[in-house]
Each structure stands twice: as C-alpha cells, then as structure tokens.
Amino acid sequence: MKSGAVLHRYDVAIVGAGGAGLTAALYAARSGDVRVAVLSKMLPVRSHTGTAQGGIGAALGNHEEDHPEWHVFDTIKGSDYLADQDAVRVLCYEAVELVYELEHMGLPFDRTPSGRIAQRPFGGHTNNVTKQPVRRACYAADRTGHMILQTLYQQCLRHRVAFFDEFQVLDVLLSEGVANGVVALEMATGQLHIFHARAVIFATGGWGRVWQITSNAHSFTGDGAAIVLRRGIPLEDMEFFQFHPTGIYKMGILITEGTRGEGGVLINGRGERFMARYAPTLKDLASRDVTSRAIYLEIREGRGVDGKDYVYLDIRPETINHYFDLDGKKNPDGTPRRITAADIQARLPDIADFVRTYLGIDPLTQPIPVQPTAHYAMGGIPTDLHGCVVVDEHNTVLPGLYAAGEVACVSVHGANRLGTNSLVDILVFGRRSGLDAVRYCRETDFVPLPDRPDEAARATLEELRARPLREERMADIRVEMQRVMMDYVGVFREAAGIERALHTLRELQQRYQHAGVHDKSFSFNTELLEAWELGCLLDLAEVTAAAALARTESRGCHAREDYPQRDDENWLKHSLAFRTQQGIQLRYKPVTILDYPPQERVY
C-alpha cells in the first residue's frame, strides 16, 4: 500500500452503509453533539438493504386486528425457540414506532384506500387466535428495501453525516481492552486511513457468498464478522444460515415471499400444491426453513419439474384465484377474494421484470422455476440489547464496540428468521446501537491508539499483493468453497458431509496462501480486495461448518439428517465460535426464555 496513513478523528465510526449503519448514523447524528463518520466499500445507495423486496413487519393493524405480541410469538416460533425472548420483545414493540418514523422521514409506502400504510401477508405471520395469516408486512410494491435505503441515506445527507464512500475497512483497533478505531483502504488511491474513534459500530451485513446459489450481492462477503473473529471476538450461532425457498433457478435471485403473500403457490412436477402436505394450516406461507426443506424433499423424491432440481412458483391470476376458492378466501364484505393480472403487475413489478429479463418468461402467463437460495445469516457478532458487542458466555461487554443488522446476533432470529424481520432488525438495533454509542461517547474520552495501528492491515495487503502469480487461482478456490458449502452445509446436513466440507475448506485455506493477484497497482485494485474478501469468506465458511458439525440436533434452518429431532434438553443454547491457534473452539450460552417455553412447531 502507499506509505503512511491518514489519521481521522470521529466520535463514532460506523462501518457499513446499509440499513443498520445508516440508521445508527442518523440517530447518532441527530443527537447533535457527536461527530459521526460512515465508511462503506460502496456508495451507500448500493448496499444490499436495497434489494429487500416484500415488506417490513410491524403490527400496525391497518387492515385487520394485529398486535405486537402476536408478532413476538410468530418471531419466537419462527426462530424454533432459539431467539432470546427479551430481544424479540424489543424488536416487535419498537417495530411499530420505527415504521411510523420511516413514514415521517418520507418513505413512500403503498397506501390503503383510507390513506394508511398498506400491509400484506407474509410467511409465518399469523393471527395468534385463528392461526390464519395476518397482513403485517408494510410495503412499497416489491421495492421496500430500496425505499428504506434511499430514505435513510437522504436523511443522513440532511443531517450532515460524514461519508467515506469506497473505503474498505480491514481491521478494528483495540487497546486497553476497548475498541477505539478502524483501519480502512481508500479504494480510489490505495491510501490507508486510520479512524480514531470513541465508539465503533460494525454494520457490514452478511456472507451469503459462501454458498453457490445465493440471493446475496457479490459484495456480501462477511468482512465485519471476519475482522472481529480474527481479533479474538467470538461469532454466535454461525450454524444457522437461512435458505430462502424461492430463488430464480440457477441464478439465486430472490423472489419475495410477498408473491405467496399475494396468493402465489408452489407447484411440483406433478402439478401438486405440495405445501398443503408439509404445513396444513399456513401452506405456502409456512416459515422459510420449512418451505425450503419441503422443496428439497419434493426434488429428492423425484417430484421436481421434469425430474430436475427445481419447482414452480405460480403467480398466474387464474392459479391464485383457483386456490383462493379452494381455501375459501373471502374479502371483508364476504365476496370471494380475487386478483387480476393488473393487481399482480402493480404489487410485484420488479419480480415481474426480473423473471422477464433473466428467464425470458412472463410470470403472468407462465410459472416461475425456483430453488432455495442462500439468503440470510441468523448468526454473527454477539451483542446485548443495546448493540454492545459481548465477548463470552457471561455476556461481558467489550467497551466501545457495537454491531447491528445482519452482521450482529442479538439474537432475535434464533435458528430461522421470520420474513420481514431483517428490515425490522436493522432499524430497531441500528437505532439502539447509534443511541447507545452516543451515550458511551459522552461518558468516555478517546483512548490512545496502539503503536503503528495500520501495521497489521498493511502487512496483510502487502503480503497478498506481493505473492507471485502461480497456477493457483483465487476464483477456483472460491468456486470450490461455494460448491462444498452448498452440497454439505446447505439445507440438509449430516456428519460425514460436514466433515468432508471441513476437510476441503482446510485444504482451500492452504491453497489460498499460494494464490496470487495480477494487479499490483494502488488505484482501485478490486482484484486485491476480492482476494482479501475471499479470505473472509473462507474463515466464515469454516466457522459455519464447525458449528454445524457440533450441533447434533435439528432446529430451524439447521437440519441434520442424522439428528432429525430438536433436542431442547441438550441444545437449547447459543453457540459461540472462537478462532484459536488450535482451530475453531466452541462454547455455549443459554437462551433467554420469558413467556414462551418451547413447543412443538407446526404450521
């Protein structure tokens, strides 16, 4: 890297400019007396929050009776009882005021005829009394994430947050037992920068790029999680990674659960609506883990379409109306519920566009080939209810360090996240971490930086850049990692397969040490950064596989074929994975259970 480093000083340094980072920045900046910097490896409006489609869950009750407490129960049940119930309570009760705040900030929600925020059904969202689907997902067509990201960025501009765009953060600085800054590479110039801060918030998102088929952006490489893991901080519940049931076949591009919220159904190769067999009450609106497993089982038993590894998602109006009739769906006035092609086009315009662009078919007249796609990390950097990072099974806080959003594990999602709750999470815990960081800044001074704070980051990049080009290619290593993780640490898992994956991952770690890069320049060296990101992915893949091997039960999206039952007696606990000289070490901490003891989970 270029010699020397530029030093900056901010009260709060936020890493990542998606929904969680921007929310934290906005609330911190609005408090008035702290200086806030947001560092992002992309322009903020490029962040992955923008690809969220179907809606954000909040029990506004704009169409029918709903309560935050029902949202609490649905979230806990969805989590297969692994979520911490105090955190879920915070999530679901604060969701309501935060959705209203978003509206006040200008978010263009779709509207009901009376001018209120429009809501639609989503997987696992229920009326707790009747057990029937409830309209809880607040939406703006199928562009809810885009609108949230834009609205938050707009408000951050208004409140003069300092943005450092295309700054790749490489390291977190810790001295005297507290976090006090980060080291970042300015991509355009190859210059290193040191951000000295009172508080650091990681909001870098997930790592779906560990898997072959994923809905996640190329940039979703788990940088923040890998950075803290390498600094001795554990990662929680890494064995739980959600596969969304409906990705576009072979491409993984997300098709929102909102398609099924609007009445779309999954159909196997025999033309059967198979979800009725797996989830008799909610059918196609069962939880995501249940639905993804059902699709895999249909395919395994030869009932994929044309015997291949996909099924159909059917959103043709005649199909939807047919199943509305079979299910006895009615409008509030008692007339049979109906949907038209124009309604679908208006409510799901981007989905229709994706299917037309990438598959060359019209979803209003043809069914869509789909397969489960790696989608969301339930696990991540462990935090308390204020976003403070906790570093052991006693929940000891590491002062000055925060995490929020997908990179964090509070845990509100447990073993399986309820649809729409990722957007709730980024707002609720983004705000909480931003506000708590402000409180912390008022109470503490800057802790002096360690000697030569940029040394480790510089050495890592220099070594990577200086490697001679050999036969070994970074791309081959990435493809192999993604394949073994898809095959052995995906929707279904068993010991022999996970062990095989771990073996391969360790080989790939070795091969990675021998792969080089062509591009030796300073300016915008994306090849070098992709190689660095691959190092993050490999570390996270190994942690995921190690935690998955250890957990000898099936819970939420962690489905062990050799241990098909949930085992509350031994496994109602969170894993904490530490990276040590001897490899990945696992420790465990209890789940917070308040009002909802574990029950059998049926949809």
Partner: protein
C-alpha cells in the same frame, strides 16, 4: 457461444491514454454481460476493473456503455448483443480506472436538489395519511437507483457538466410531487437556474437509457411545467 469482448482499458498508474483490450469468453446466451466481465476478471486478467454488487439491476453499480448504449451490465443479456460486444466507461464523468468513473460530480448534482423529505410540522402519533392517488403521482420517480445511466447519456450534460442532469431532476420530482413535502418552492428555484431543467432539450436519450424504465423526459417536462405554473 464464443463472445469477443472489446473493453476500453485505462490504468492511471501505467497508461498515458486509454486502449482497447480484446477478450474471448465462452458464454451462455442467457448470461449477463456482468458474467462475461467476471469470466475475464477471474480467469484471464484480474486487473480488469469495474464496479458490481447485486447483479440483478437494483444496486446501480454497473452502469456502463455497452455497444454504444448506457445499460447495466447485470441487466443486459449476451443474447441481446450477439458475439461482438464493446464496453466502455460512462461518458462525461472522469475515468478512474477501466470502467470505473468518478461518481462524485454526479452525486454533487444529486445532493444539490435537497434530496430528502422536508416537513417541519409536528409528526402525528401514527402515519401521515396519503391517498392512493397522491402516492401514485410520484411513483415512477421513486424507482431511481442513481446508476447515472441517464445523466451520462445526455448530450446537454456532455456539453456542460454543470448541467444538473436528468437523474437529479428525477430525484427532485420524487419530492416535488409528494403531497407530504413542503420544500417544492426551493427545489423548483434550484432547478429554474441556468444549470437547471431548461438545459434539457427533450432528446430522450435518458428515457431510453434508464434501466428502471422511468419516464425521465416526462418527469423533466412535469418539473418544467410546475415551474411555469408557479410563475404565473
């Protein structure tokens, strides 16, 4: 199918001036142009530089000039283009490296139109009401992803980079016609300046370039009409 990519290259640390690189890749007709670029970067020449993220037309990272037209590389399929594909950086913004341009002049125009809702009335306890028709009024311009495909296809912008450009006007439109916003006057004053909407000559390149199919020229015309209406 075998595809030849002709790509405009420039590394500021090595090259005095841009040059054309030629690469052969094996593609499926249904592959995206971005997939072809990745083939080159991952297996032939790692120094090829471009921005990309979501790979399905939402994040707006990979706008570039493909066979002479501004498009997103992840939303353009090989089969639309044939065997010979020419790829250049967007025009009118400084090139940093290969297909990466400096977005700051573009973002500066965006920031100049007050791109945020202004409403200083006390907030109600729940949502502000807005009718379906009021919401529909500005729906089209909420889709903008700030990819810069429109602005960098505009001859008026090429001629005068101080022209605020179609994307900033689209973003202003999104607030001017939002029933909840109270700063339309100020935004219209900004857009009624010499570098504002009147530089638009109705060439329609922007509308053709928009990967989100926003009716950009129409939005600009609506802003012009609103300025004239308020002058009366």
């Amino acid at each position: 199918m075998k595809v030849t990519l002709k790509i405009r290259r420039f590394n500021p640390e090595k090259d005095r001036s841009p040059w054309w690189g030629s690469y052969e890749v094996e593609c499926e007709p249904t592959d995206r142009v971005l997939d072809a670029l990745n083939q080159v970067k991952w297996y032939q020449d790692g120094s090829l530089t471009y921005r990309r993220s979501c790979a399905h037309g939402i994040c707006g990272s990979d706008a570039m000039r493909i066979n002479g037209r501004n498009r997103l590389a992840c939303k353009t399929l090989i089969k639309e283009l044939g065997n010979h594909i020419t790829i250049e950086p967007l025009l009118g913004l400084p090139v940093i490296k290969d297909l990466v341009v400096d977005m700051e002049p573009f973002m500066e125009h965006y920031r100049s139109i007050m791109p945020y809702l202004v409403n200083d009335d006390p907030s109600p306890a729940s949502e502000r009401l807005q009718s379906i028709a009021q919401r529909e009024r500005f729906d089209d311009t909420t889709k903008c992803i700030l990819c810069a495909a429109c602005t960098t296809s505009c001859p008026a912008f090429w001629a005068r980079p101080d022209y605020i450009g179609p994307a900033a006007i689209v973003q202003a439109h999104r607030f001017i016609f939002d029933s909840r916003d109270q700063a339309a006057e100020e935004r219209l004053r900004i857009l009624d300046s010499p570098s504002g909407v009147w530089r638009c000559r109705g060439i329609y390149n922007c509308t053709e370039a928009c990967p989100r199919e926003i009716q950009v020229t129409q939005a600009i015309a609506e802003v012009k009409r609103e300025i004239l209406r308020r002058r009366r």
